[in-house]
């Protein structure tokens, strides 16, 4: 690969522009970039389509059932969002139905993976919202650790909760109420959450202080699923709203 052929003369001239000489060593000269969106009108690879068809058919046969109907697109948000409230309320309701003893239901914001669509909600959307196999777990906090837990939520700007309300001021939680009762620093509280959070996931170092951990054979996804199915059975179109459970002062 040397500049010997006469056809390469123009390149020798070009090389002078860079003040370089002949060498077998390759030097990076330039780069270009492109972003290539994968869109539906692009051609599809038939071998790939054929290969995964049996997998797809198996999933489609059970994942397309309509679980609920929503009046709105259900999105997450901070300090609260319709999806936050729906998820936390579903945990709260299911926890009470299962006779689990707890005061407040909580899960992490990052665990809500997609929005739910307006109109029909097929089963696969619930899987995509909550793909993890996380299970119900309760932990007990002292009053002061419970305050630190709310501060942990406030620090991030708000997470899904049910059974409590508070305000965020200077990244701290104030005016906390637990099931409409004023927060009591002298009391112990039980939190219903996921095993992931109880294990200290998503930066939840406060969970190292948690005691009396109990796990239940209830997946968070199934809690959401059961909640939605009950609403549908009762003939309701779901319409989760922000209700001021977390506000920013």
């Amino acid at each position: 690969m040397h500049h010997t052929s006469s056809a390469l003369k123009p390149f020798a001239l070009f090389s002078l522009l860079f003040a370089t000489a002949c060498s077998p060593k390759l030097q990076l000269a330039s780069s270009e970039k492109a972003l290539l969106p994968i869109t539906q009108d692009q051609p599809k690879d038939s071998a790939i389509l054929a290969y995964y068809k049996p997998y797809k058919m198996h999933l489609d046969s059970q994942m397309n059932d309509i679980i609920a109907v929503s009046a709105i697109e259900i999105v997450k948000g901070r300090p609260e969002g319709p999806l936050n409230n729906l998820m936390a309320d579903a945990m709260y309701d299911t926890g009470k139905l299962k006779n689990i003893s707890f005061d407040v239901a909580y899960t992490n914001y990052g665990g809500l993976r997609i929005s739910l669509p307006k109109g029909n909600i097929p089963l696969y959307k619930v899987y995509e919202l909550m793909p993890f196999e996380n299970i119900f777990t309760t932990v007990k906090f002292s009053g002061s650790d419970m305050q630190s837990f709310f501060d942990y939520i406030a620090e991030d700007g708000g997470d899904p909760i049910s059974g409590a309300t508070f305000k965020i001021k200077d990244k701290k939680a104030i005016d906390i109420k637990i099931n409409d009762q004023p927060f009591d620093l002298q009391k112990e509280y039980i939190l219903l959450t996921s095993d992931y959070m109880a294990n200290g996931g998503d930066g939840g170092i406060i969970f190292a202080k948690a005691r009396d951990r109990k796990e239940y054979n209830v997946k968070l996804r199934d809690a959401m699923l059961n909640y939605l199915q009950q609403q549908t059975k009762a003939g309701k179109i779901i319409n989760p709203q922000n209700d001021g459970r977390i506000t920013v002062e």
Binding site: F14, S15, A29, S30, E32, I38, S115, P117
Partner: protein
């Protein structure tokens, strides 16, 4: 095909080489037939998260986008047109659709193998079914998993991943290594088991020295699942680029960042390190073309030949 030729012409017109060649009356399409210029095409994805099907046409934000069949067709088309192609992924292959809940990641790895991926790394969600869950699916991957800063020696993955791999494309040597994110506080201990997380910067300095100075690679690429940028001091791709010497390109993930064009960072040597990340779910395929020329004998001190010449978006 027509689009690609158009872009190639555009690209050449906008490079110093292209301008010089056009001035000399050389047809641009013949450039790559010559020995002097070698083109390397890097294709990349990150955080595909089990997105086998395109997003459904239900009015949602990404409806109709993504899907392995369309991505595979696009990759095939580029491979037909380009001689030197590397196809890389920056982790979080797993989790996000029922395909993962039902098949545990088998289909994701089979699809990537069929598409001809050259390498991937482990993201935090690739631990979601535990190290055992990942280990179980590994036989479905015909490409290496690169992770330099996870010490798996006390786990079932011991010897099943590698720190780096050197790819030879024509006369080019491309060194690729992988970096994963800190697992504590992000992934539960029961999932990552006895995996030991090693400082990514220290590991990167070791890797780049090995690949650049000892193995004499022409290009050094880091596949990273550290995340693009954080508000605090947490190590990110930006921090990595600022604190290393020889990385030409960081292909990032984790933060699902949609970069319209690669971020250019001045590294410790004052040279350019590019960082790119293309969102998530296989919505985009990143493409970066590097042009190499035969030059740089040991007598030549000129070294700043890395030039970001142009950015072409086919949006």
């Amino acid at each position: 095909m027509a689009e690609s030729q158009l872009n190639r012409r555009k690209f050449l017109r906008n490079t110093a080489a292209g301008a010089a060649l056009l001035a000399l009356g050389i047809k641009s399409d013949s450039v790559y037939a010559k020995d002097d210029l070698v083109k390397l095409t890097i294709l990349h994805t990150n955080d595909v998260h089990s997105r086998i099907d395109p997003f459904p046409m239900d009015g949602s934000k990404y409806q109709g986008l993504g899907g392995v069949a369309a991505r595979a067709a696009l990759i095939k088309k580029i491979r037909r047109e380009e001689k030197n192609v590397l196809l890389l992924d920056a982790g979080d292959i797993f989790q996000g659709t029922p395909y993962f809940n039902f098949y545990g990641g088998e289909l994701e790895l089979k699809m990537m193998s069929m598409m001809g991926y050259d390498a991937s790394i482990m993201g935090n969600h690739d631990f979601d079914n535990g190290i055992e869950g990942f280990h179980k699916q590994l036989p479905h991957a015909n490409f290496p998993i690169l992770n330099a800063n996870y010490d798996f020696s006390d786990t079932i993955l011991n010897g099943k991943t590698q720190s780096y791999k050197i790819f030879k494309k024509g006369a080019l040597k491309i060194g690729v290594f992988g970096l994963g994110i800190e697992l504590t506080g992000l992934v539960n201990k029961q999932q990552y088991g006895n995996t030991i997380y090693l400082d990514p910067i220290a590991k990167a300095l070791e890797m780049e020295n090995l690949l650049k100075n000892e193995m004499k690679c022409d290009l050094v690429i880091c596949l990273s699942h550290l995340g693009f940028k954080y508000n605090d001091k947490k190590v990110s791709d930006i921090v990595l680029a600022q604190n290393t010497n020889y990385i030409d390109l960081i292909i990032g993930g984790h933060t699902h960042t949609f970069l319209e064009k690669p971020e250019s960072i001045s590294n410790l040597k004052g040279k350019e390190t590019l960082i790119n990340q293309v969102g998530f779910a296989g919505i985009n395929l990143g493409e970066i073309n590097f042009i190499f020329e035969h030059s740089g004998s040991k007598k030549i001190t000129y070294s700043s030949v890395v030039q970001e010449v142009n950015t072409i978006f086919k949006i």
